[in-house]
Every structure is written in structure tokens, then in C-alpha cells.
């Protein structure tokens, strides 16, 4: 066991990146991610790691610089949030299509407009279909662990895909939490230097990011989709390896008091901790309630999710984003379409909540669970909206 330290989670994210022997970081600061950018720049400036910190003029440039550096064989990191992620959008599917293992931390924040700097998941949801591995951390310790794991997963020869690690803005990035860092020697053993499949070099000319005619584009997309789906096996393998080394276990779908529960709450990200307290409160009063937390969002771990919700009568899906004019929150919409043909499935009650930094408290989870118990069919609605 390492020494426990009290630290702001954003700072800890930068410290975790520093442990990973990165070659290049290209980060443009944006609230609430700025502390990651600033602290990582400090670490490079102080000579604590031998890396290049590229001070780019925008997020479009930061992700482009990361793509170029990754193509040249470097281990690269970037971080962003909200509008920054939106500006990166054009490049995101290119990075995944080129199979470049870029690791990104995203401090989740609402997207404009109206302008709002606080937490929800509306920034990551429009990037959902870009072909990146997409995961959510729940607390500071997970941010450290998952950052280190991400490099190993992304660079694995059977994966070679970029990863975005979602870290709830403020709720997580600005909290001071007790955390434990693995030692440099432990990280070096777990994460050896990157061995790229190929790298751009004048001595060995290759072309990357080539043009596709209609007669091959569909095959390229099928290959990309298959690569992302297949990455789950490696993700689970690397998480298991981490669990054996450090005693902290990570799974695509995690549960809390979910076994045999009639009602299940489903969350992603930091709200899982609050929801688990709400489950404890409700359990004390005899309610049959449990919690399901999705750590992995893309590729969507549907087999694990089916196993976790088996036998439940009601599944309350908490969405911190909405697809305007669509079928509800993006998490619920995906789950519903997967379960559509199942012979028996729970009633799915979808709440759009926690938008733009609106607190979701233990009492809110209890209130939502009570409201959901009265629903006769699948529904989706805003929770806590004043009317």
C-alpha cells in the first residue's frame, strides 16, 4: 500500500499522467479542466518528466498535434472539456480511424448555450459515435488508476484506439480527496514504453490517414467498428491485471446491492457515489433497491449490463444529457434499443437530471425512486424542473 495523500483530483490526474512516461502533451486550458493543463505544464517545465508540452492555440490544434505525435510513435496525452471537446469533434473520428492510441481526460461540463461551466454529460454525448473508447471515473482514486490503465489499453496491439476518460467537472476535478499513487517502479512494470505498430519515420516511409474510395470505405468502417467492439476483451484483461497488482478492481458494469433488487438505479460517473448512499438509506427502510454503474460507455457492455439487471422490475436510468427531440437521454435510448427484443426486461424509467451543475442529492435519488415506482410503462422526463 502506497501512502495516502490529500490532493485535488485535477492535480492528481496530471500527476498520474506524469507517472506514465509520456512523450508529448498538447493541452489547451478550459474550465474546469485547466488545473490538469496547468499542473502538467508545471511538471514538464520543472523537468520532472522528459516530455514535450505543446502550447497550442486551440483544442482543434491540441488533438491534431496529439494525432501527429502519436503517428510518430510517441505516447501522448491531452485533456479538455465542453466547448473544447466540441472544437475537437472534427478530428476525433480521424484519430480513431487512424488507430492512434491518444489518451484524453475530459472534465465533463455542459455545452453552450446558454453558457454554463458546470457539470453534466452533454459534452461527451455528441462525441459518442466517434469510435473512441469512452469510460467514466467515479472518484479521484479511479481517475489516477484509469488514467494509467488507459495508456496500456489504448496502446495494446489488439486495441490501438484512442480513449477518453470522463471526469465530472468540479464534482470530481475540483474535489480534494484522499488518494493513493502507485510508485514509479510499479507503473514502469505495469506500463512499459510504447511499442507502436508502425511509426512515421523517413527511413521507413508509410502513408497514414489515406483517402478511401466508395469501394473500400464500408470495409474500413466495419474494421473500425469491430476493433472498438473487440477492445472490451483487452480492457477487461488489463483491468483484471490492475486488480491483482493493486487490489482495486474495475469492471465494465459494477453493481452495489443490486442482487435480487426489484428496482435498480443506473448511473455513470461521479453521481454513483451519491446514489449508493441513497440505496443504503432506502435499504434501511426495507426497499428492494440496488445500483448499477456503467464504467464503460463505448464499447457498450451490454452482456454485463444484462447480467446486472436480470430479474429487476424497474430500471431507473439517470441521464445527464438529452437528445433533443429524440427518444430521451442517450444512455437510456441505447439500453432500450438493446433490450427491445428481450422476452423479459425491466420497465425503463429515464430521468434527465443534473444538467449544468444542478446538484443531485441523496434525497433526489430517493424521490426519483419513489416517483418511478408509480410509473406503469417506459417513460422519460426531466427531474426537478420547476413548473
Amino acid at each position: 500500500m502506497g501512502k495516502r495523500v490529500g490532493m485535488e483530483v485535477g492535480i492528481a490526474a496530471a500527476e498520474a499522467v506524469a507517472l506514465c512516461n509520456i512523450d508529448v502533451a498538447a493541452v489547451y486550458p478550459i474550465t474546469p479542466q485547466s488545473h490538469i493543463a496547468e499542473h502538467l505544464a508545471d511538471i514538464v517545465h520543472d523537468g520532472r518528466i522528459n516530455a514535450e508540452f505543446i502550447t497550442v492555440e486551440s483544442e482543434h490544434s491540441s488533438i491534431s498535434a496529439c494525432a501527429g505525435a502519436s503517428a510518430a510513435g510517441a505516447r501522448v496525452y491531452t485533456a479538455t472539456s465542453s466547448q473544447g471537446l466540441m472544437l475537437m469533434h472534427e478530428i476525433l473520428p480521424i484519430v480513431s480511424a487512424m488507430r492512434l492510441p491518444v489518451v484524453m481526460g475530459n472534465a465533463n461540463r455542459a455545452i453552450s448555450g446558454p453558457l454554463n461551466i458546470w457539470n453534466d454529460h452533454t459534452d461527451i454525448m455528441p462525441q459518442r459515435d466517434c469510435g473512441w473508447i469512452c469510460m467514466f471515473a467515479e472518484n479521484g482514486q479511479e481517475v489516477i488508476d484509469m488514467t494509467i490503465q488507459s495508456f496500456k489499453i489504448a496502446e495494446h496491439p489488439d486495441v490501438m484506439l484512442p480513449i477518453v476518460l470522463n471526469i465530472d467537472g468540479f464534482q470530481l476535478t475540483h474535489m480534494i480527496e484522499p488518494m493513493e499513487f502507485p510508485s514509479q517502479a510499479q507503473v514502469n512494470r505495469f506500463l512499459p514504453p510504447r511499442k507502436p505498430f508502425v511509426a512515421l519515420h523517413p527511413d521507413n516511409p508509410i502513408s497514414m490517414g489515406c483517402f478511401n474510395m466508395p469501394d473500400i470505405f464500408t470495409e474500413s468502417m466495419k474494421a473500425k467498428e469491430t476493433a472498438l467492439r473487440n477492445s472490451k476483451k483487452i480492457i477487461v484483461k488489463i483491468w483484471n491485471e490492475w486488480g491483482k497488482l493493486f487490489g482495486r478492481h474495475y469492471r465494465p458494469v459494477e453493481t452495489y446491492k443490486a442482487k435480487g433488487a426489484k428496482t435498480l438505479i443506473l448511473t455513470m460517473g461521479s453521481m454513483g457515489e451519491t446514489a449508493s448512499v441513497a440505496v443504503d438509506e432506502m435499504r434501511k427502510k426495507g426497499a428492494s433497491v440496488g445500483l448499477v454503474k456503467m464504467r464503460l460507455w463505448r464499447p457498450l457492455p451490454i452482456e454485463e449490463l444484462r447480467a446486472a439487471i436480470k430479474g429487476a422490475k424497474t430500471l431507473i436510468v439517470m441521464d445527464r444529457a438529452i437528445s433533443f427531440g429524440g427518444a430521451g437521454g442517450p444512455v437510456a435510448t441505447d439500453i432500450k434499443s438493446y433490450l427491445f427484443q428481450d422476452k423479459s426486461r425491466p420497465r425503463i424509467v429515464n430521468y434527465i437530471m443534473g444538467l449544468g451543475g444542478r446538484d443531485v442529492t441523496v434525497d433526489d435519488f430517493i424521490a426519483m425512486t419513489k416517483k418511478a415506482a408509480k410509473k406503469k410503462e417506459d417513460t422519460f422526463e426531466f427531474y426537478g424542473v420547476r413548473e
Binding site: A97, M98, R99, M160, G209, E219, S220, A223, T226
Partner: protein
């Protein structure tokens, strides 16, 4: 990921054969694609008017014009897309674009 297998394939038929990230491991293999098949008009050079200035060679976006043994600049019709830039730039008007159909 087995690199050797991926390298040996020149052109993928099935999705399983697509190189990771559509990388191309054979430098210069674009020359195997005869882009001249797109052409609607072809440049025709009148050697009586040509002064061998080489402007067509400089402006050709395809890089398909080269100097022959007599010093005339001629387009390789395997790659010439028929854009007409050479004819536009040729101030002695030695190059004219002719319909492929005719």
C-alpha cells in the same frame, strides 16, 4: 496484430484485410491508380507553337508532365485528369484541350 500479413496484401477485398487505420505500407503505390480514366478532355501540344518554357510542367497539379528527349513537355495520359491548367497557363497557346469523345 500481425504486421507481415497486412503488408503482403496490396489491395483489400474483405473488411478483415483492411490494414489497421488504412495505413499504406508500400511507398508510392498511388502510381498504380491510373487517374487518367476520369478525364473528359485531353491536352494536345502543338510543337510548332511550343517554346519549351516548361510552365505547363511547373503548374501541372498532378505532376504528370515531363520533358522528353527533344525538350518538349508532354503529359502522361495515364495520370492526366484533364484539368486544363496547362492549357490555361500556356501563353504561346501551344496546348489546347480536346474532348475525349471526339
Amino acid at each position: 496484430m500481425k504486421k507481415k500479413k497486412a503488408v503482403s496484401k496490396k489491395w483489400p477485398e474483405k473488411w478483415q484485410e483492411v490494414n489497421p487505420g488504412c495505413m499504406v505500407f508500400i511507398p508510392g503505390n498511388a502510381s498504380a491508380l491510373h487517374t487518367g480514366s476520369w478525364r473528359a478532355q485531353r491536352p494536345v501540344l502543338d510543337i510548332q507553337k511550343c517554346i519549351k518554357c516548361g510552365l505547363c510542367y511547373i503548374f501541372c497539379p498532378e505532376g504528370c508532365i515531363s520533358e522528353d528527349s527533344e525538350g518538349f513537355f508532354k503529359a502522361n495520359l495515364d495520370y492526366c485528369k484533364g484539368c486544363g491548367i496547362c492549357a490555361h497557363e500556356c501563353w504561346p497557346e501551344a496546348i489546347v484541350m480536346v474532348e475525349e469523345e471526339e
